[in-house]
Subunit: 283 residues, 2 copies
């Protein structure tokens, strides 16, 4: 398995001149956004708009989550060239129905990545998901640990973060201009780096729990999906089908648990304050 | 031009059972998310995940913004059938390079819609954009008027809103599970309903100002783009190329103006309070 890259790590943010409501002009960091065209065995697959922080993991994870690569062992090499904004992935095996898959496009609510090739939305994870239990106290500790991770978001905003977690521990965290780039990058790292994150039992995203997000997490074999944002109907349907426990609107002490069954242990119920019951509305 | 639809208007939200941090279970409204497969002259183009509120306008606006339909007059009919989750659009003229366009996919940071066919990111709006001036007081009045619009977001979250505006007036407002569905629906309504919104001079979105959003607004001939969220590098680059003034992080009295030149008149500078200078970080 070989890797080549035309540049060292690219900066995740760039500075621009803005002026604010006081008429004061200042430098403001913003998120980088770079096109990267993905070729699989010389076949153009897609162009991704990305922060560009870990392009090898992004393209491999994208192909994995799109079902265009099924085994890490099939990978021969990944070559990223930012000069021509291209990533070439070489594999020993292509899916037999590649053309058929590429013929169908489902544009989902992916922030940063909305295309599901083939009939992925109808696909099912290979093995049943673990019915991982979760303690409320562990969830709160995890949310606090995650606060330290969102570096680019804090300086520039306009990015989503995703994390592979084990209990309250953050095993791996990725930010990108789209939450689907972030989840794909995590999936790619699992394959490329035999990451510690393989033992992840919880997935966290700042983005919404829509159909594609639930699907990708289920296919990573993870049974607990936590988000700072809300859920959509299709996300809830798929989570029920696959047995994913959803923790939506997880912020501070708030959360909304869906399909929790007996899996969530309420061992840290906060004192009731009037404001607490409003819940969160941010999408 | 004919329209048929298999159902009356579908509900934008559905209720599910959740339980919160107090262990109390309650009904919670969530955003609907429905697949709609788009066929153009019987050719399958894409499947969109949508709230389903205005599917005819969505698919027409999608085709318009993707450059797959160039003239409203070419439209013969739109037929939506929710039974089979399909929308059939019939046009008199297809782009000659349709196959070539469909062959290239750019997956952008579109929330709800991330695919740009062909080489849209390299395309330029037909005519130069108007260098519309904007008063700070008008911006503030517009932001207040917009607060009344986000119905689904307030009840369910997990949706983005977009609006066509004229000065402080909101001409048309659309919510969908993705901000690109919302902007496409607005573009479609302009064609289908000879909407009053044709005179729009300002575009508002709750979503981030990324490459695809700037591109679509420029192609609608609008020179002022306002967002509650942040900007990305490519969004700023395209805005400069097309002459779009960006107003990012527009919330309450805050905003960050980019490429404003002399177009933004500061006629309502707020009194300085220490907290005001922190700016907003929400992506």
């Amino acid at each position: 398995m070989t890797f080549t890259r035309s540049h060292a790590r690219l900066p995740a943010t760039v500075e621009i001149e803005i002026f604010d409501e006081y008429g004061e002009s200042r430098r403001q960091a913003i998120a980088a956004e770079r096109p990267l065209t993905l070729y699989l065995n010389k076949r153009e697959i897609v162009t991704l708009m990305t922060l560009g922080d870990d392009p090898e993991a992004l393209v491999v994870g994208y192909l994995r989550n799109q079902g265009l690569l099924t085994e890490a062992a099939d990978l021969v090499g990944v070559h990223v060239d930012w000069e021509v904004e291209a990533a070439a992935v070489v594999t020993r095996h292509l899916p037999e129905d590649l053309e058929e898959r590429l013929g169908h496009r489902t544009v989902t609510t992916g922030c940063g990545q909305g295309t599901v090739f083939g009939r992925l939305l109808d696909s099912v994870p290979r093995q049943p998901l673990p019915e991982t239990p979760l303690r409320q106290s562990t969830l709160y500790a995890l949310l606090e640990n995650l606060n330290a991770c969102n570096e680019t978001y804090r300086s520039a905003g306009a990015v989503h973060g995703c994390a592979l977690c084990w209990g309250e521990e953050v095993l791996d965290f990725v930010e990108d201009v789209g939450r689907h780039n972030a989840v794909d990058t995590l999936a790619g790292r699992q394959w490329l780096k035999e990451a510690d994150s393989l033992r992840a039992d919880t997935f966290y995203t700042t983005g919404r729990l829509t159909s594609e997000m639930v699907l990708k997490v289920a296919q990573m074999g993870i049974g607990v999906l936590v988000s700072r944002s809300g859920v959509t109907q299709k996300g809830v349907e798929l989570a029920e089908r696959y047995g994913v426990m959803l923790i939506a609107r997880a912020k501070g002490r708030h959360f909304q648990a869906i399909h929790a069954g007996g899996r969530l242990a309420l061992d840290a119920v906060p004192p009731v304050r009037p404001g607490d019951r409003r819940g969160q509305r941010r999408g």
